[in-house]
Amino acid sequence: MPRHLARRLAGTLITLIVVGFVTFVALDATPGDAASALIGESASQAQLQVLRAQMGLDQPLVARYATFLTNLVSRGNLGQSLVNSRAVSGLLIERLPYTLILAFTATTLAVSIGLTLGMIAATRAGSRLDTALMSGAAVSLAVPTFWSALVLLLIFSVNLRWLPVVGAESPRHFILPVITLALPTSAIIARMIRASLLDVFGADYVRTAHAKGVAPRPVLTRHILRNSLIPVVTMLGLHLGHLLGGAFIVETIFGLPGLGRLIVQAIFDRDEPVVLGATLLIAAMYLAINLLVDVAHGWLDPQVAHEAV
């Protein structure tokens, strides 16, 4: 492991620090800084200067980012919200579970649907069923989540009254958001696994396996499936990250108090510390998932591990 993983880990950390800096710079340039937001319109220029000095806002940008990072690493301190003066880290910990549950449940559901349909389509490639499944996948990729969410709400909550409309009190509240997010994801997975399977079906080692008389089932599970999973795992990692950063629309519609909703509300409130903290957390999770995917990649495809050493 060790060497190439250590190098990847270091690279990931550096990327994360730069991502934080980019966000820091982007948000810092906002007209009206934290001090003037805190002190209000009526304060004099002199009072503002004092407060700015107190908050360290008169320091150069790089120095302030260094302070921010030191606080983060030494005390897990991400600053406090400009709106309600709560610690940003506390807010993030409170909101994180909702987003995690949503993203992981949706991904699990999407993988089970996508794998099944993709395999069915690939084994019957060219048939009517295949065409129907793939057209269905293409269309569901085009359906915006904010629309499918509303249509699902209209059917199951408003008309049938089977499921609650908004909130996050019970598992039942998660059913519609999870389905909404899983729909396009399963379409992507189905398309991907189909293409990947078709690639592998024609490979020499599969023909060899058939030729030397391996039973069809082991050929499918051991030779075909394992190899065709490689691109899917890579894509899945990327996609899980995208769900973490992109679930804000679904969270907003269903009133789930997750990270995405936190960011959107913070943008409306011009609450920069919260935007920065949440962005960093999401980017960190995304990079961590990609790192894990690389490890899984080495396990699925031993060639990768050998090359890297």
């Binding site: 994360l16 490639a125 269309v139 999401i282």
Partner: protein, 305 residues
């Protein structure tokens, strides 16, 4: 590239060449590739949307912002095929004018994205060395923002509006164009035709623009089409939660958002704009897939079972 469709012969190659100035089709092909169903359906949908956008003032029964007295929240009828909204505006008219905004989002957003990604990719790929390393690293950081997160940060910086959303989405999707251009440029750098151009003393700019870029055109056109679909969806999403187009702009995502509160009494407010976004996005996806098969027919002949 002669395309024969139901007795109509279309010289698409010349046509694209004349309008873009790009010499896409260097070698005349003997046989045109078959036009796939995807290309047909996607193309038809897009032509319909362009038609709706261009002739919106003629097609729309009412001006998009006109408040019709005594017609609040009326259900779809002969007078108002898509119904009216909570202020009494004709939804069909607003949706038709929304097509203009959607096309604007797609064109401007893709132009920004391609305008950033393609030149950077050409320079990084052609020059190589530290410049390439530097730009590629910067793009890695760019890509470390998952999903719409980078767009959210940019909108947080610039403030919520349709223009800022388009800029944010353009910037966010630039790495896709960068990667494709860079990798193709690296392989083209050693090609005979580039060496020949270098030998006769063509400038770097000329080699990149006139020799390398045209070879990339088909891949870039496919990517641009698929990215346009992403843009329409993402801009609609940002507008829907209030970070994009602001009312009274008849942007489809914003229309959908304003219909959200009337889901139980007036579902048509949410259904029609959403259907338009889906149709546009599906049309672009199909067109992109179709164009990819068209430009690269080898892909379709993958070994089956």
């Amino acid at each position: 590239m002669l395309v024969e469709v139901g007795g109509w012969k279309l010289e698409i190659g010349n046509w694209i060449q004349r309008f873009s100035g790009l010499r896409i089709f260097e070698k005349p092909r003997k046989l045109a590739n078959p036009i796939s169903t995807n290309l047909w359906i996607g193309g038809t949908i897009l032509i319909a949307i362009f038609f709706a956008a261009i002739f919106a003032p003629l097609l729309a029964p009412h001006p998009p912002d006109l408040v019709l007295a005594g017609a609040k929240l009326s259900a779809p009828s002969f007078a108002h095929p898509f119904g009216t909204d909570n202020l009494g505006r004709d939804v069909l008219s607003r949706v038709l004018f929304g097509a203009r905004i959607a096309i604007g989002i797609a064109l401007v957003g893709v132009a920004i994205s391609a305008g950033l990604g393609i030149p950077l990719g050409l320079i990084a790929g052609y020059r190589g060395g530290w410049l390439d390393q530097g730009i590629a690293r910067a793009m890695d950081v760019w890509l470390a923002f998952p999903g719409l997160l980078l767009a959210l940060v940019i909108v947080a910086r610039l403030g919520p509006s349709l223009e800022n959303t388009i800029v944010a989405l353009g910037v966010m999707t630039a790495p896709g164009f960068f990667r494709i251009t860079r990798s193709a440029t690296i392989s083209a750098r050693r090609a005979m035709y580039v060496q020949a151009a270098q030998a006769v003393g063509a400038s770097e700019l000329r080699i990149m623009a006139r020799h390398i870029l045209p070879n990339l055109a088909s891949a870039l056109i496919v990517l641009a089409t698929l990215r346009a679909s992403t843009m329409v969806l993402a801009a609609g999403g940002l507008s829907f939660i209030g970070l994009g187009a602001q009312p009274p702009l008849p942007e489809w995502g914003a229309l959908l958002a304003s219909g959200r509160g009337y889901l139980d009494t007036a579902p048509w407010l949410a259904i029609f704009p959403g259907a338009c976004i889906t149709l546009t996005s599906a049309g672009l996806n199909l067109l992109g897939d179709g164009l990819r098969d068209y430009f690269d027919p080898q892909q379709m002949k993958k070994p089956g079972f």
